[in-house]
């Protein structure tokens, strides 16, 4: 829920309660006041009547006097409410009445009841209530509308900041450039965020340089190690000790693996640093065929069959090195995690490449297969960076890379979607 919607909800709830209570109070108040007023008028009438009687004049009678009833019998004294039938409109009309006794100079005492219709009073209450409620409702609606408009206006800088943050990409190596809005809080927020992004960029830059330098600087000692180990393997003295040569050979293999690992990590960091700006049209079908041929010996060694379906020629605009790496890693992965006597099936559609191979259900979250150093078996020689590289290349060019396990055919399916 939006912050403003949340606060507005409370305001509206409070206003609604006040509105209801206020309307009730207003009704009761106005009604009381008017009844009191009617009561006073009836009292005045009583005085008039009493004065008339005291002066010895006769009581006014119909048809000159309406709302006055004289009775010889005793009646309950005081105020009362009564419904009387209006002969003209044929409806019951509420009246307020006051009954009192007078003693004319001659004759027995009479009981007089004065009445006043409450119809006008009710109309008045209605008008007053309607006016007041109308004003209150307008106030409430106006406040809500004003709030909405203010949200649009006053919170605009905040939304701008949010948009800038959302589209912020550290890999562009640029700090956030946020304006200084007039609202102090937002200005402060933007300033803090700008500082934060500057620090981030600086740290990231340091890390990147360190990685690049470290990768480059380790390559030379590795090259020396590897070359010297290979020379060491040529020594005739090794033949004296049957255990020495395999040890050296293992060392040699390890050096080679280290150098591969380095290459893969270097490639990953270079993709992340967007250092593959150059692009050229790449014919994916041809690349696929070329790579399959290159991996032929490996397929053969594993006893695997390759099915290649590339009905439509697909041309992508990307860095040739990355295209190479993408296809290579996909195929290599399918070969590596295959079953004896299995197959590798590559389907090149009009806008996707799907490579599948049979294998056991790996279990676990498919997203985790793209994690770095994620291995099928803990003992595997490969560092487990192939799919990470595929994914990074996907991120770089906006390709959708997905993995699925089809339980029906027990197949691993890796799919790269090239754009929509």
């Amino acid at each position: 829920m939006k912050l403003l919607a949340a606060t507005n909800r409370y305001y509206l709830a409070l206003a609604a309660v006040l509105f209801a209570v206020g309307s009730g109070a207003l009704y009761v108040g106005v009604n009381q006041a008017l009844r009191h007023e009617v009561g006073e008028q009836l009292d005045i009438r009583r005085h008039e009547v009493e004065q008339l009687v005291r002066a010895g004049r006769p009581l006014p009678g119909p048809p000159f006097e309406s709302g006055l009833e004289v009775s010889a019998g005793p009646r309950p004294l005081g105020f009362g409410d009564v419904l009387l039938r209006d002969t003209l409109e044929h409806e019951s009309v509420p009246h307020r009445q006051l009954t009192f006794a007078v003693r004319p100079a001659v004759g027995p005492p009479v009981w007089v009841t004065v009445r006043k219709s409450l119809v006008e009073t009710d109309d008045l209450v209605r008008v007053i209530l309607a006016t007041m409620l109308g004003v209150l409702a307008a106030l409430l609606g106006g406040a809500a509308l004003l709030n909405r408009w203010l949200t649009e206006r006053l919170w605009a800088p905040f939304r701008h900041t949010l948009g800038a943050l959302r589209s912020y990409d550290l890999q562009q190596h640029r700090p956030l450039a946020l304006p200084t809005p007039a609202i102090a809080e937002f200005a402060e927020l933007n300033l803090a965020l700008t500082h934060l992004s500057q620090r981030l960029v600086a740290d990231y830059e340091n890390l990147r340089e360190f990685t690049a330098n470290a990768a480059h600087e380790t390559q030379t000692p590795l090259a020396i190690m590897q070359a010297q180990l290979e020379q060491l393997l040529q020594l005739p003295a090794l033949e004296q000790d049957p255990a020495a040569a395999p040890l050296l050979a293992e060392l040699y293999g390890a050096t080679r693996r280290l150098s591969r690992l380095h290459q893969a990590l270097g490639l990953l960091s270079r993709i992340e640093n967007r250092q593959f700006a150059a692009a050229a049209p790449v014919r994916l079908g041809e690349l696929l065929a070329e790579k399959s041929q290159q991996l032929g010996p490996l397929l053969e060694a594993r006893g695997l069959v390759l099915h290649l379906h590339a009905p439509a020629p697909l041309v992508l605009h990307m860095h040739p090195g990355l295209a190479d790496s993408l296809v290579h890693n996909l195929l290599h992965n399918a070969i590596k995690h295959n079953e004896p006597g299995g197959d590798v099936t590559a389907i090149l559609g009009s806008n996707y490449l799907e490579i599948s191979n049979p294998g056991a259900d790996p279990g676990g979250d498919p997203a985790r297969f793209f994690e770095r150093f994620r291995k099928h078996r803990a003992t595997a020689d490969s560092p487990g960076l192939g799919l990470s590289i595929v994914q990074q290349i996907g991120v770089y060019y906006g390709f959708g890379v997905s993995y699925a396990f089809e339980p029906a055919g027990r197949r691993h399916v890796l799919r790269v979607q090239f754009g929509a």
Partner: protein, 225 residues
Amino acid sequence: MKLLLVEDEPALRAVLLESLRPGGYVVEVAADFAQAYEKIKLYRYDCVLLDLTLPDGNGLDLVRALKADNSPAGVLIFTARDTLEDRIAGLDLGADDYLVKPFHLSELNARLRAIIRRRQFQGQHHIVFRDLLVWPDQAEVLVRGEPLTLTRKEYDLLLYLLANPDRVLTKEAIAEHLCGDAVDAADSFDFIYTHFKNLRKKLQEKGADNYIRTMYGVGYKLSSE
């Protein structure tokens, strides 16, 4: 056969020099761009082995200088792994081949042989090893005059061995030679074994026994004894 080795790293230079020596080459060395430039201007070489990243200049400029002088020298460049652009630029400039550092010394020998063969220096149209005679242009192998039929991979393997006589070839080097260096060597050891078994059998059938020796846990060696 005169070579110029341009490599700025002393330890690597030394080990490269040592590995090239049994090939019967005369190798001169240059430790930086200036030295190398001077040497290619003053002397003629059959092949230049060139590290592209030098402390005082870009190795690609040396390739340019060689080509500008219409030098007949073959050029083999060494590049870092992550510089695909350099590699392509080097080949475009006229380098014959490239090796990505770190490389196998046996691979260097094989590539160097191939360059020399392609350029047909000193009329080296064929390779002789013990009873073997190989005509690389025709991809023909003769054992004591009798033709030997090999598959493409077996032939590649034989040429690789012939480029490195009496050298221990590691499994990694062989695997990467046959499958390309993008392949994890460990994946293809079985496959090497099969190919060696077949090649050996075919040689044996023609009477060329004990040419290929297995170095237990290490790799293979083409033996001249």
